[in-house]
Symmetry: C2
Subunit: 346 residues, 2 copies
Amino acid sequence: MILRLALVGFGNVGQQFARLLMAKRDWLLRKKGLDVEVLAIATRSRGSLLSKRALDLERVLSAIGSGSLPAYGSDSTALSPIGIIEKCDADIMIELSTLNIDSGQPAIDHLRTAMRAGMDVITANKGPIAWAYEELRDIARSKGVHLRFEGTVMDGTPIFNLVERTLPGCEILGLTGILNSTSNLILGEMSRGKSMEMAVQEAQARGIAEADPSLDVDGWDASAKITALANVLMDAGMNPKMVDRLGIRGISLEEIREASAEGKKIKLVARAFREGSSIKLQVRPERVGPDSPMWAVDGTSSSLTMSTDLMGDITVVESSPALTQTAYAVFSDMLLTVEAIRHGTI
Amino acid sequence: MILRLALVGFGNVGQQFARLLMAKRDWLLRKKGLDVEVLAIATRSRGSLLSKRALDLERVLSAIGSGSLPAYGSDSTALSPIGIIEKCDADIMIELSTLNIDSGQPAIDHLRTAMRAGMDVITANKGPIAWAYEELRDIARSKGVHLRFEGTVMDGTPIFNLVERTLPGCEILGLTGILNSTSNLILGEMSRGKSMEMAVQEAQARGIAEADPSLDVDGWDASAKITALANVLMDAGMNPKMVDRLGIRGISLEEIREASAEGKKIKLVARAFREGSSIKLQVRPERVGPDSPMWAVDGTSSSLTMSTDLMGDITVVESSPALTQTAYAVFSDMLLTVEAIRHGTI
């Protein structure tokens, strides 16, 4: 089976995904009978490619490495991402553009357009799931296409797929987690005596924090993730602005020392829980002791505890991920989509 | 769809599973279109029932509560478990008999017999997976039936199903876990100053430890579990006698105090890892510090860290399970088996 992909967004995750496709090419052919072709790659500021035949990923990576996709030498297009989605012959559109925390756009439009054109879709961009999950799920159902999004929270660590595929009949009653690795790293560095400014700079130097760290330190990234989780797993129907949100920006070295003197660490904790008939979402710094499953979740690690009706509390921890882990999320969603296509299931 | 079950073994887990079937009867009918009937229940010392029609589970539970299944009033049989498996009209045989650590028998024969008769099978008994996984998997493949065993390790916490269904293309390179909740509980009580004898008695009083605690305190249960994990997830082809095994029997209060003075806890840790071209299995007490994901795994909780090629380390923690959690393992395996039957997949 030939599987044709369109990638919208081609930053670190997209490039790692392309590398993973190359590294797993033989495995995909031999074990899964899958010949994966990338027909289109759209970016907003570094050019786009659109082809009827498989792009040569090695040349694509060298082109983007040199600064822009048109350096590929052919198949360059001036079409917008939406135009490319409409024109391409892909089976699956993979949304990897940058998070827009205020609206989830234009990623939501990318997904809408692709699904209305009959494509299956995968997103590693949490915006659409945090802002428009119900609508997107309904479009997927009405068009009979697949919508997968494992990479939106904790990279490729199975969370959404775990609940959907291994916990049948279990109801999720609440969620608690450390979901933003940048703040977790910064708090850890501060506990070793560094100022927040230094810790942020170090995270930036390591390529972990963005140039503008406010998404992380003000709790927006964690808010988008807990919203996405609650929308999918608890039918919350909420958006990131509805989160009771306090980031780590106001945390002083003094407070961290105080917590430490109590034998505790300060962690940025995201929670979703029921209160009466409504669902509350909360992101805020908390003091965590050694008996908490969050205690050992240090550095860039993250964790999620799911409280369930039939299985009590299940915690999943992702340890010190690399960029390949988000690429793997897309890779596993691609394989699960193919499996569903083959079984004729949604 | 009517789904007919035969239960072999009807101790705590079997009875909890029967209760779960009753509690979820409406949900199964409404959401899954499943009318689940139990046609046979076999025990070795408390009688057996075999019927052409659905047994009344409420009456079955009250019969076993009064001491033996023949108190049900009808459908009593003197057939052996194997005879019952051969005679019953079940779609799925569920193996819930007691672990025999020396051979995995007679549970292996129960599974062989059922699969050869064309039944799908589910086991919560780890013996067969620790002793004869390859053979059983091959029988399942050659007969085109399903073999599921989520409940053999960490109750219903997704481990086998997680790897199979949510980590496609990921290779498991190693496993580390706290798999025996009884020893974990005993070590915890000892760290609060109790003698091992007192801690064992307390675990027995709570219904957690067996009358003969040697399976737990000598590391056999953890050995069977790490073997089952390695057989399925790393193609180890080993058995519990091949584990480099040291239990907690020799641990003194003095050692626990020493560890505590170092800021550590003693935990019974099970490991599977590659050494050259072979796989090593190990169970032994280790000193664990607060930075380990195992530190906070206290009481009857358990944990497993899976080291993978594409996703780094993923840890799953089950917190303080009740008996319902093992029953849920069987319940989820039943639903996944039905899904596979409906999709025509193995």
